[in-house]
């Protein structure tokens, strides 16, 4: 089991000018896994990535890469000896080298001759672009070159810093799935940093949420979304409705009635419900009034107000929706996540 771990951080801390950027972060990335490091900007996720790569030394804690301690008390292995591949936010392609030379940069001469370059270029769908210079490539192509360059020396782990932030929204979704496919077919272990929850959930096998320098939860995407550890995480990884209530025997009684909640304790609690678990029916006698609607095509968000002033959101399919001012009744599908108050 432990031999399977490619990256391990134990209690890693780092501060800048007296403020702690990373506080005792601990993480594990298993072989072949893609870990998404998700957090709001300034939460220390990029610093964490740079510490793994060896560009910043941690103040305390240890970092292991490929089963070897690379940073820790009395140890600081130079970046070039860590077997870590890095894909930078702005790609950092060498502007004076062609695509082929960029990809070959990290390889010893004999490996270059043995066809590793062609292999990686093919893997990243770059065949035919070998002689182009970086500035002659589109944003998506540049990104694939950066990935191919990082993968070529077969590193223990590939680190990606905000890999999609330089692409426009229309390209992003497609490049994301391409990237996922390339990482999978290379069998690479990867850690990528993002502030975009959708990106983290769709690309990662495992997501680590980082808030104010601490890793607050590590879980597969589904679990993170449906079973967040704190209200803060719930809010950060998607749209969330919060309702106050009282838990008794696995049920919380709240504004929406008795809602099942799987928790072993009883008492005052806060229930979190994702918008898609609120079902609406047109009902002239209904308590809630529709006060707004955002239509996205594939789905829509309907904003409701209850007489008590509470506002909730419901996500419905893209079909005909409700009009503003219409009365509706609300039903809960599934169960609520509850947090003690």
């Amino acid at each position: 089991m432990s031999a399977d771990v490619m990256v391990r951080l134990s209690g890693v801390s780092r501060s800048y000018n007296g403020t702690k950027a990373v506080r005792g972060a601990s993480l594990e990335v298993r072989k072949g896994e893609v870990l998404g490091l998700l957090g709001p900007s300034g939460c220390g996720k990029t610093t964490t990535l740079r510490m793994i790569a060896g560009f910043e030394p941690p103040e305390s804690g240890t970092i292991e890469v490929g089963g070897r301690v690379v940073a820790g008390p009395g140890v600081n292995v130079a970046p070039e000896r860590r077997r870590v591949g890095m894909v930078f936010q702005d790609y950092a392609l060498f502007p004076h080298l062609s695509v082929e030379q960029n990809v070959a940069y990290g390889l010893p001469k004999d490996k270059w001759r043995n066809g590793r370059v062609e292999e990686v270029l093919a893997l990243a769908h770059l065949t035919g672009l070998e002689d182009r210079m970086p500035h002659e490539l589109s944003g998506g192509q540049q990104q694939r070159v950066a990935l191919a360059r990082a993968l070529a020396p077969e590193p223990a782990v590939v680190l990606l810093d905000e890999p999609f932030s330089n692409l426009d929204a229309a390209l992003r979704a497609r490049v994301r799935s391409e990237m996922r496919e390339i990482l999978l077919s290379a069998g690479a272990t990867a850690v990528f940093v993002t502030h975009d929850q959708e990106e983290a959930l769709s690309l990662a096998d495992e997501v680590a949420v980082m808030i104010e320098g601490s890793v607050v939860q590590v879980a597969p995407p589904e679990e993170l979304y449906h079973d967040p550890a704190t209200p803060e995480i719930a809010r950060f990884v998607g749209e969330a409705n919060f309702l106050e209530g009282h838990v008794e025997n696995g049920c919380i009684s709240c504004l929406l009635g008795e809602v099942p909640a799987s928790c072993p304790w009883n008492g005052e609690a806060e229930a979190m419900l994702r918008p898609e678990s609120l079902r609406l029916t047109a009902d002239p006698e209904g308590e809630a009034v529709v006060i707004g609607r955002e239509f996205y095509g594939h789905d829509q968000l309907v904003k409701l107000r209850f007489p008590s002033g509470v506002i909730l959101r419901s996500r419905l399919g893209g079909g005909p929706g409700f009009k503003v001012g219409e009365r509706v009744s609300v039903e809960v599908a599934g169960r609520a996540v509850v947090f003690p108050r």
Binding site: G54, F88, G106, P134
Partner: protein, 535 residues
């Protein structure tokens, strides 16, 4: 294959606006300026070929001409090479390492740029030459002669220590503009610190090294002051000697034309290297390289260069100033020369700013083949070394415009032709800051083109126009060869005063104007550094 659709790239690039015709009010003055710019070079060609092809061939194939060419090329190559060797480590140390007080070192290392080459020549001659400081110290000890500083070694030393900052500044700018992630990427791909320097950092610096090196070569080839005072027979000095002594001045014209061809070639090459795309990055502050014990040799290098190129010259000047004052050297004539300098430079600045305006407006607002050509014509001033420009105007004035010959008007005309590129460059970038939509908004509010120019464009661009004028003013102050050849009789400026006093070995008399010139030249340098710091 994965590029955005063609329609999208078209909108991203900004669709081509329909070509507007520039008003005659603009094209006519621009055409006049261009015609004036062409005059010196055109006349030089005419004058060279006046006495027929045989004479040209005779001069070209003369052994002495080839020797001059060889000496000039040798000097330019040596000075350029030495400058690169000196400047690259200094630039790297002051941008990428934890060198103590590296900002101060950066300013000090750039400062020798403000020392005009003839002042450098004066410093060298007056310190190490016959009747100089060293000789004065050693004479009581029975030393009668010092090793010769005239010729190649002196000229190389003077030009290197006062022109290496061109390479220093361009390389520094390149290093600051390079994305530090490139070096990090190289490190994580398995290259160590040294390998990264040679495989990534150095190639990033290469265009800057070439551009800076070409500037040094250009400066060396066009230099008149240092080579003349140090008596190295390169083109500039040979042209001057031919002009002064020979009965037939045709050889001087032909030599001048050869020099123009040489500098024009260098300018073309320089333009090529500048045009390469893809060499830009984001300015994220790089983590400085920790020097450790290497700190001491690094400090020694910086200190040594600054001592030789800045502290020593200023010290020598102060020595002669003090000695002159103690010997009762009158300062009154200095104010006279200073007033002449200010007057001529002020006129040049005003006329250069006025002449630059139509050219810059055309280039920015009506981009096209013709306006581009007009803009490029202004750069002829750069290709014409001062001595060549002056010579051509002397010929022209003597033959066709005796009423203008040896007047202040012709001198100012020479200054404007010579330094117009500076004014055009500054005005052009100021105009580029004014978005056309702002002007269009004024048009939409009912103002005519002239009114828009007066109420919107000019106020917004005024600081740039002023900066251009100031630059012309200060470079004119330092100009020597044209001033020397074209000044009205009895018109003495600070520059010619340094020249004549040095030529006649009145070192104490040259010190005060030389120091004043350095102080004045330090102003734009200071502004440049401030801009670098805030920008």
């Amino acid at each position: 294959m994965t590029g955005p659709p063609a329609a999208l790239t078209e909108t991203l690039r900004g669709g081509k606006a329909p070509r507007k015709r520039p008003p005659v009010l603009l094209t006519l003055p621009a055409a006049l300026v261009v015609a004036a710019l062409m005059l010196p070079i055109a006349y030089l060609v005419v004058r060279s070929f006046e006495s027929g092809w045989e004479t040209v061939a005779e001069v070209l194939l003369d052994g002495e001409t080839l020797a001059v060419l060889g000496r000039s090329a040798l000097l330019a190559a040596t000075v350029t090479g030495a400058s690169v060797v000196l400047a690259v480590p200094l630039a790297w140390l002051t941008t990428r390492t934890d060198l103590p007080a590296r900002r101060t070192w950066a300013v000090l290392a750039a400062l020798p740029l403000v020392i005009p080459s003839y002042v450098g020549g004066f410093v060298l001659v007056s310190a190490l030459g016959p009747r100089g400081m060293l000789q004065g110290v050693l004479e009581p000890l029975g030393v009668q002669r010092l090793p010769e500083i005239y010729g190649f070694p002196g000229a190389t030393l003077a030009l290197t220590i006062f022109s290496y900052p061109y390479v220093f500044l361009t390389v520094r700018a390149a290093l600051r503009g390079t994305d530090p992630a490139l070096e990090e990427a190289s490190r994580s791909l398995g290259s160590g610190a040294w390998a990264t320097f040679f495989r990534v950092t150095l190639p990033q610096m290469r265009p800057a090294i070439v551009a800076g090196g070409l500037l040094v070569a250009l400066y060396t080839l066009s230099d008149f002051g240092a080579v003349s005072l140090l008596q190295y027979d390169s083109f500039a000095r040979e042209i001057y000697l031919q002009y002064r002594s020979a009965f037939d001045r045709t050889p001087a014209a032909i030599l001048a034309l050869m020099l123009v061809l040489l500098t024009a070639t260098i300018l073309l090459v320089e333009g090529r290297t500048r045009g390469r795309a893809g060499y830009y990055g984001r300015a994220r502050e790089a983590r400085p390289v920790v020097l450790g014990r290497w700190r001491w040799p690094a400090l020694l290098l910086c200190g040594g260069v600054v001592a030789v190129s800045l502290a020593a010259p200023v010290g020598v000047l102060l020595f002669w100033l003090l000695r002159g004052l103690l010997a009762g050297e009158p300062l009154r004539t200095l104010w006279h020369a200073a007033a002449s300098s200010l007057y001529a430079s002020g006129l040049a600045a005003v006329f250069a700013a006025l002449a630059a305006l139509p050219i810059a407006v055309l280039a920015v607002r009506f981009p096209g083949k013709l306006s581009g050509l007009a803009e490029r014509a202004t750069y002829l001033g750069y290709a014409l070394p001062g001595i060549v420009l002056a010579l051509s105007l002397v010929f022209f004035g003597a033959n066709y415009a005796p009423w203008a010959y040896q007047t202040l008007g012709l001198l100012v005309f020479a200054y404007v032709v010579h330094f117009l590129p500076q004014a055009v460059g500054a005005t052009r970038s100021a105009l580029l800051q004014v978005r056309p939509s702002v002007e269009e908004a004024a048009r939409g509010l009912g103002r005519g083109p002239a009114s828009v120019l007066a109420t919107v464009t000019a106020p917004l661009a005024s600081s740039g126009i002023l900066a251009g004028a100031a630059l012309v003013f200060l470079t004119t102050m330092k100009e020597l060869p044209a001033t020397l050849l074209l000044s009205p009789t009895g018109f003495e400026t600070l520059a010619t005063r340094v020249w004549s006093a040095t030529s006649e070995a009145f070192y104490a008399r040259a010190a005060a104007p030389a120091l004043l010139l350095i102080l004045l030249s330090a102003v734009p340098m200071y502004l440049l550094v401030i801009r670098e710091r805030t920008g």
